[in-house]
Amino acid sequence: MHLSVTGVSKTFGHGSKAKLVLEDINLDLDSGEFVALVGSSGSGKSTVMRLVAGLERPSTGSITVDGKPVRGPGSDRGMVFQKYSLYPWLSAAENVAFGMTLQGRAKREVSERTAYFLEVVGLSDAGRRLPRELSGGMQQRVAIARALAADPKVLLLDEPFGALDLQIRESMQEFLYQLWERTGLTALLITHDVEEALLLAQRVHIMAPRPGRIIRTVSAQLDRTSLAHLRVSRPFLELREELAGCLRSLDAGVMA
């Protein structure tokens, strides 16, 4: 799998009200890679995600998956939203099965894969519960299981832990990292949190606002045997401080 975003810009509105929200975005993603896009609000990072998902069309440039241009949303690019994306009338297991039933897969395959992916996210015992009976962290794990069960080539994560408490965020980051290690999934993560990006991704793109553009790309080859240790290790903290400072100066308008 190779995802390629080449020279993409996006303008909303027409004529005098036209607003350029993304300018010349370029990024690549290969099978098994975990890449993060970091930026403050208004940097257009969510728009990049929506363009890759096919929920919006780029104004210029091209987005391709394995050389084929993206023309709309499809199950090869699974998406996890920040919140409110579980179907409240379906149980956790039915939510996980949802994409597979849309695709018309055989009943037996659906129930086997549902059980498997509920286990992968550690929720085998919660399959019959309704979303409102699950905590925020559990809901996001169901959303991730649902996206994975539909067998995407790449998983698009749009601030997946943005609505969670700090402590739950940390355990969810741990969970997602282990999931990536175990299943070898390919993921594009959107976040405003530099720490989250550095913990999880091997490559981090920093975005600047107005118009949204990538101003810096960092390769984060860090020792991730223990995320708890990584969080307090010197190279990690130095890199985090450097990137956080970069984002701060953007917000202060120094570089904008």
């Binding site: 929920l55 949303p73 199950s75 690019r77 919140k83 409110y84």
Partner: protein, 258 residues
């Protein structure tokens, strides 16, 4: 003390105060009627109303009237529900269809349905059709617009998630939109059912051989206020039963929304 707390617990039941309210009105009515302050011809006693009711029941009139009115409401409203559901969903999902139909519906909605009676009688005579169609006309626009509104509140994340899971056009409607709006649709039907009951009585006052409304207008001709009271109370009770039925349906079918 034990007796006091039992009473308190009974009062805490959500229906207790409502029951007390109804009993208080019945008691007040009985007191006024017994005092002789008001002519019996104008205000029959609760007992006289009960007697008139059981007399109608034993002669089979009450059931016949009831079935006639319920049948008209059922047919007219079922037609309205069936037509409004697909149109309301289509208007909610498609901007083109919405812009095409909304001004038209907004206009017709404000034409009082009873004003259509003369036209309906000219078109369809005095049979069942004009009564059923009156109920249809009087409720279909409200049902449609309320369903359309509920579709607009489907969170975009729910639609977009389905799209990224491989869902296509019609699946979004049947698997996402319809389950999501089910509680609001049931509620719209429950609210507009009240208009259907108003309209069937109006239609029967104008022209009918049987029905609860017809019975009331006959009773007026013979100054039988006790029978008018019977009719009003029966209509109220059926309305309440239908309302409770819809609430029960909502609780059973959409437990996730409570």
């Amino acid at each position: 003390m034990a007796g006091g707390s039992a009473l308190l617990r009974w009062l805490a039941h959500p229906w207790s105060l409502g029951l007390i309210g109804i009993l208080a009105v019945l008691l007040f009515w009985q007191l006024i009627a017994a005092s002789g302050l008001v002519d019996k011809l104008f205000l029959p006693s609760p007992e006289a109303v009960w007697r008139a009711g059981s007399d109608q029941y034993s002669r089979g009139i009450l059931i016949r009237d009831l079935l006639a009115s319920v049948g008209r409401v059922g047919a007219g409203f079922a037609l309205s529900a069936l037509v409004s559901l697909p149109i309301g969903i289509a208007m909610g999902c498609s901007r083109v269809i919405c812009q095409l139909l909304e001004p038209l519906m907004g206009l017709i909605r404000y034409m009082p349905a009873p004003a259509f009676i003369p036209l309906l009688i000219i078109y369809f005579g005095l049979g069942e059709e004009p009564k059923i169609l009156l109920i249809f006309i009087g409720t279909v626009f409200f049902n449609t617009l309320m369903i359309m509104d509920s579709v607009k509140f489907v969170p975009s994340e729910l639609r977009e998630t389905a799209l990224t899971l491989g869902g296509r056009g019609f699946q979004i409607v049947t698997r996402v939109v319809m389950p999501f709006i089910a509680p609001q649709v049931i509620d719209a039907y429950r609210i507009n059912m009240a208009s259907a009951w108003n309209l069937v009585i109006v239609a029967e006052l104008v022209a009918a051989n049987e029905g609860l409304g017809k019975r009331i207008s006959l009773a007026q001709r013979f100054l039988r206020t006790d029978e008018i009271f019977v009719g009003l109370i029966v209509i109220g009770l059926i309305g309440l039963a239908i309302d409770l039925g819809f609430r029960l349906l909502m609780r059973r079918a959409c437990s996730w929304a409570n």
